[in-house]
């Protein structure tokens, strides 16, 4: 084989210009077309699968060189190339259009890529996204679904899935493909979890999610929105009707700052702010009925994906935006691409500021946030971040809108009602290595067992739990 020349730089993906995108919620990154995807794919040096570091970096171990090879091998037949590549991806991940967009690739698959040692790592996320988008637009995913769907007889057994985030959707899809009868119960009026209420349109267009959900319905999955398990139906009632239950209820409870002024008008949790915007479409008020007040100057507290999403949404609604973070720049937890986009769009960043009080006007509306300036020590904390301490110096940032994005914890609706369900002190559900909870036949995964984590980990859990549920049900019927 002729020695390939190493191409050090990534093939770029086009983006909507800043001036245009900050006025709307259109998707920012436009992704590859076939020709540029092939060019990027050509850069991969095809490490052998048993060694390829990218595969180890991906939490669900997608055969990355495998799907890249499938693309390259058919560079003269785009449909064939995409179909073969998608087949490889689907073996481990059924929602590549989503993960390709939202995975923190720089910490996962792309981090150890050997090309990163000589230049840019392969743009695995964008390639994955390309395969999924192209397949969706050309109905290649429909064709492939026939291959993956269970064509034989139906399995004996019914499964209830609670929550329709990435964990629940994946578990439901996998079980339906095996031939089980699956019903998803979702508390909100629309399925998708964080993908629908949290992550904005400019990062994850809702049509992608709609298509994924349509596929599940095609596989025979029934979705029941407006069901809060623990309230509408109890876990016990589900167990009377279903052979097994999967809990994928996420970590949807916002943490609040325990400081004065938290009840002032104009202060939102990121969940309230983003739910009003994404799920309820408040940015189209009054065409849509749900309102949102947003002022001239927004301060967002926190520096994760949630904070970036809130900041960039506020910006699009016409506000000036400052992100205030109590640690330093290098400690921010958001995806690099989002931090980069936020900066490009004009979000300002202030570091080492710890909020200590919200100050209101005479009408109970917030007008400023008081912060203590912090400084970093050399010493690291348990999470490997530099410890921070107060300096005794204070500053005020004026703000008429504040968004608190300091984290989320598991929602306790189910665990409070189903007392047999064991939880850890932080509210996450206790599970064994099969992802079975303390109640036999009840499995769980995603943020409900991990606390705030990632989409791909939630999907990985959904897939693993589906396998365990299958084994559980098979055993149940064979011993009966």
């Amino acid at each position: 084989m002729a020695k390939r020349e190493l191409i050090k730089e990534r093939v770029p993906t086009p983006e909507v210009p800043v001036e245009e995108r900050t006025k709307s919620f259109v998707e920012v990154n436009l992704g590859y077309d076939f020709a540029s995807a092939i060019k990027e794919a050509e850069r991969c040096i095809q490490c052998p699968p048993e060694y390829a570091p990218c595969i180890k970096g991906c939490p669900v171990h997608i055969n990355i060189p495998g799907f890249i090879k499938a693309l390259r091998e058919n560079s003269n037949n785009s449909n064939e190339a995409v179909k073969n590549a998608l087949r490889v991806i689907w073996n481990d991940n059924t929602l590549p259009a989503i993960t390709g967009r939202v995975c923190p690739q720089e910490d996962q698959c792309e981090a150890p890529c050997v090309m990163g040692k000589v230049g840019d790592p392969i743009n695995i996320g964008k390639l994955e996204r390309f395969v999924a988008d192209y397949a969706r637009k050309h109905n290649i995913d429909e064709e492939l679904l026939q291959e993956f769907a269970n064509n034989g007889e139906n399995m004996k057994g019914k499964v209830a899935v609670v929550g329709s985030g990435p964990a629940g959707l994946t578990a439901a899809g996998e079980l339906a493909k095996m031939g089980y009868k699956v019903t998803i119960f979702e508390a909100l009026h629309k399925p998708g979890g964080v993908l629908i209420y949290g992550i904005p349109e400019f990062r994850l267009p809702k049509e992608i999610l709609d298509k994924e959900i349509a596929k599940l319905i095609e596989l025979g999955v029934e979705i029941k929105p407006n069901y809060v398990i623990g309230k509408t139906l109890t876990l016990e009632e589900l167990l009377e009707e279903y052979d097994a239950v999967f809990i994928g209820t996420g970590a949807g409870t916002p943490k609040l700052l325990n400081i004065p002024g938290i009840l002032l008008d104009g202060i939102y949790t990121a969940n309230e702010f983003l739910t009003r915007i994404n799920l309820m479409k408040a940015y189209e008020f009054p065409k849509y009925d749900t309102p949102l007040t947003i002022g001239k100057r927004t301060v967002v507290i926190g520096a994760g994906n949630t904070a970036m999403d809130a900041a960039r949404s506020a910006l699009r609604m016409g506000s000036e935006v400052i992100i205030a973070y109590r640690r330093g720049r290098e400690d921010m937890t958001a995806r690099i691409e989002e931090i980069h986009h936020a900066e490009e769009e004009g979000v300002k960043f202030e570091f080492f500021l710890n909020p200590i009080e919200f100050i209101g006007d005479e009408n109970g509306k917030v007008k400023a946030v008081k912060f203590e300036k912090m400084k970093a020590l050399e010493e690291k904390d348990a999470k490997g971040k530099r410890k921070i301490v107060g300096t005794g110096e204070y500053i005020l940032l004026e703000a008429d809108t504040v968004v608190i994005a300091i984290g989320l914890e598991p929602n306790k609706v189910i665990s409070e009602e189903a007392t047999g369900l064991k939880t850890n002190p932080n509210g996450t559900l206790v599970v064994d290595e099969r992802l079975m909870t303390s109640i036999s036949g009840v499995f769980a995964g995603g943020d409900a067992i991990r606390g705030e984590a990632t989409v791909i980990l939630a999907m990985g859990d959904g897939k693993k739990a589906a396998k365990s549920i299958h084994e559980y049900i098979q055993k149940k019927y064979s011993s009966a």
Binding site: H189, T290, T293
Partner: protein
């Protein structure tokens, strides 16, 4: 797939009754819990109290307030379907034998709760007293929708005296307390009145449990829109309430937070009214 409207009836100059098919909620609803409904696909999630939950249906009293409730009144009829209804949400109240149980109400949600609560309390062997206050005769409901059938004693008051006793539930309650006839008070309605209610019962040490109405989005505890200060701690009205001990709520903040979207609501309502006028509906 929506939820079919099975009954709709005008109650007064401002309120109406609506019943929808919601077997999933009727199956598990308990006194003290509420529902969240969405009229149509572009609609807002709005919380509603429950008047009754029977035969797979949920009955509600609704005030023609703003866009959502106007829509429900002007655009939806029996046989039509609303987009979404979720519940039951919030914590049920403890139904048990307390002795003399009073329910006080001066706004639409509480009129529904008055009937629902006293019905359960009477079945639990309590002596039940309803004090229902309306602004005036035009706003007062027909007798069959009052809590009369479930109250051993029933008082109807209007603020202008145009029907029933002239005055507010606070006046009647004060007399009952002085006659030593009150073991526990439940109530709801205007937040301003609830503050005074808390002040009235506190010196007597009478337990007072009321609905703390707050602006909600999801109604399940995931957004924090409905947060209130209770006994110095932040609680979510939808998840930890909506009924709380009135003596422990920070009422000043609760009242302020309820006006968070007043400007936008007014604007939306005006636009909607203009649309109705254009169509010749009103």
């Amino acid at each position: 797939m929506g939820y079919r409207i099975t009954k709709k009836e005008n109650l007064s100059a401002i309120d109406f009754f609506m019943e929808v098919e919601a077997p999933h909620i009727a199956h598990s609803w308990k006194v003290g819990q509420f529902v969240v409904l969405i009229a149509d696909e572009k609609g807002e999630r709005v919380p509603m109290s429950v008047y009754h939950a029977e035969d797979g249906k949920i009955g509600m009293f609704i005030r023609r307030h703003g866009v959502t409730t106007f829509k429900l009144w002007y655009e939806f009829d029996v046989g039509d379907e609303i987009f979404s209804i979720t519940g039951p949400l919030g914590k049920p109240i403890e139904v048990k034998h307390y002795g003399n149980v009073v329910f006080v109400s001066d706004a639409v949600c509480a009129q529904a709760e008055s009937y629902a609560t006293l019905k359960a309390m009477k079945e639990a062997g309590n002596y039940t007293i309803a004090i229902q206050t309306f602004e005036n005769a035009a706003n007062t409901y027909p007798e069959k929708y009052l809590a009369k059938s479930v109250a051993d004693e029933h008082y109807l008051t209007t603020e202008d005296g145009s029907i029933g006793i002239k005055g507010h539930y606070l006046d009647v309650l004060k007399e009952l307390i002085e006659k030593d006839k009150v073991d526990i008070v439940f109530g709801g309605g205007k937040l301003g009145s609830l503050v005074k209610l808390a002040e009235l019962t506190k010196p007597y040490g009478i337990p007072t449990i009321v609905t703390v109405r707050q602006i909600m989005v999801d109604g399940t505890g995931m957004c924090g829109s409905c947060r209130v200060l209770y006994d110095g701690e932040v609680k979510f009205a939808c998840r930890d309430g909506p009924m709380f001990d009135a003596h422990k709520i920070d009422w000043e903040d609760a009242i302020k937070r309820n006006a968070r979207f007043a400007k936008q609501e007014k604007l939306a309502k005006e636009m909607y009214m203009a649309k109705l006028k254009e169509k010749g509906v009103i």
